[in-house]
Amino acid sequence: MNGWQTLLYKEVLRFWKVSFQTIAAPVLTAVLYLLIFGHVLENRVKVYDSISYTAFLVPGLVMMSVLQNAFANSSSSLIQSKIMGNLVFLLLAPLSHWAWYFAYVGSSVLRGLVVGGGVFLVTVWFADLSAEAPLWIVVFGVLGAALLGSLGLIAGLWAEKFDQLAAFQNFLIMPMTFLSGVFYSIHSLPAFWQGVSHLNPFFYMIDGFRYGFFGVSDVSPWLSLMIVGLALLAAAGVALNLLRTGYKIRS
């Protein structure tokens, strides 16, 4: 293995060794959401014609798990290494900023997809679900995880203590995922909040991902692809630049 592959391997091994916390727990959380919201809302909320609420909910929960875990992976790994001081082993190695980026984001994508896959495998039994356009599922799953992995990298570099990272996660990532249409179609919102939702990049990831299952969505999947793609390019650009200049890791 060369340098970046080793770092990728190490990052995957890191979350795999604590998989109860990094994989099983988020799967269980998502299943609880499905059971509770599905039970309460199944016969009260109608989102799209001919699609049950539970079926509507499953892709949203899968994508939400993908995104949250991709973010958690790179950000928590970095801040732990910074606080433990063992980031020095990487800093002493001849790894380029590209190597850091691909390893940290690659492992985040992998963790996001593993958790998302787990959520899907468990929840799919509760809903009648088909995959109308499977390629879109893969594209949005991977791009969304890469975007959140990149944001996690930025947050992990920026944060100096766990508290700051928790603030980033709880006040930015969590509200944006919850308000992105995981639990509802934004068409059910008043016009003003629909407009606000359109400013949220997380909405396009969920909406595009859902299109892959139902072949219907709130906006065109091509528009979603463009927005998610641009957001990923921007986040990757920022992350790579921070790594190149050694932001907060090389004095």
Binding site: M1, G3, R14, F89, P94, R250
Partner: protein
Amino acid sequence: MPAISFQSVSKDYPLARGAKGASFRALDNVSLDIEEGEFFGLLGPNGAGKTTMISILAGLSRASSGRVSVLGSDVQADYAAARLKLGVVPQELVFDPFFNVREALRIQSGYFGVRNNDAWIDELLESLGLADKAHANMRQLSGGMKRRVLVAQALVHKPPVIVLDEPTAGVDVELRQTLWKFIAGLNKQGHTVLLTTHYLEEAEALCGRIAMLKAGRVVALERTSDLLKAASSHVLRLKIDGELPADLAPLARVTGRIVQFAAHDVREIEGYLAAVREAGLVVEDVEITKADLEDVFIEVMGGRRTSGGGES
């Protein structure tokens, strides 16, 4: 080509927020060449800039001005080549709690692009007395064992230049012996070694050449033997029953009731004895010994002696 080269290196750290534009100069125009195969000691009190120099050399920190290179490779412009030639044992006792010793060493090898490194890893484990700990998790190791792993991690890619930043701080006697035997062996095989330490007797025993840093400047740079030769030749060691008067205290090295004065000749020794008697102190024990590196260090740091040709 020097193994390590510092050319007019300065490092300024910005002071805390609020003090606009103000900065602290940790290194002030340091120039220093270390030749291949040397065992070189970098000494100085806390805050003198030793770790800053090593951080810049290792790429953990950037010089504000000047150039640093390892065997001809610039540590910034050509960082990958420079880091491949360099093995650094960091001062802090850091470890990754997710892995056992062998995993940590395999991963570190991989970062340097070294594949199938198990034969060399086994050799390192054996030489450092870690063979029976290969499968122990890093968390379960004692401080001394963690220190050995840090040494092994620095050497996985067989670097020609080895840097040890206070490797024996807080380490027991046995490990210090093992460690020095091992490092001295590597030096004999041709590796260049740069060492910082607080234990001056270690530097005296191991280092062929020594640089002393004070407040970010090199204040002495000589062969260890020349440093010792040029120092005050004798040390007057007294055991006294009270405190030294204010005019004598700054000249002495005081350890509890034992005070030591550096002296060049017999007349100086007599002078000190007379001054002590005059102060009304009772001398319980007198000894005259040869100066060691610690005496030189105190002289240099006290500004009573400066670097260059040797004499002052």
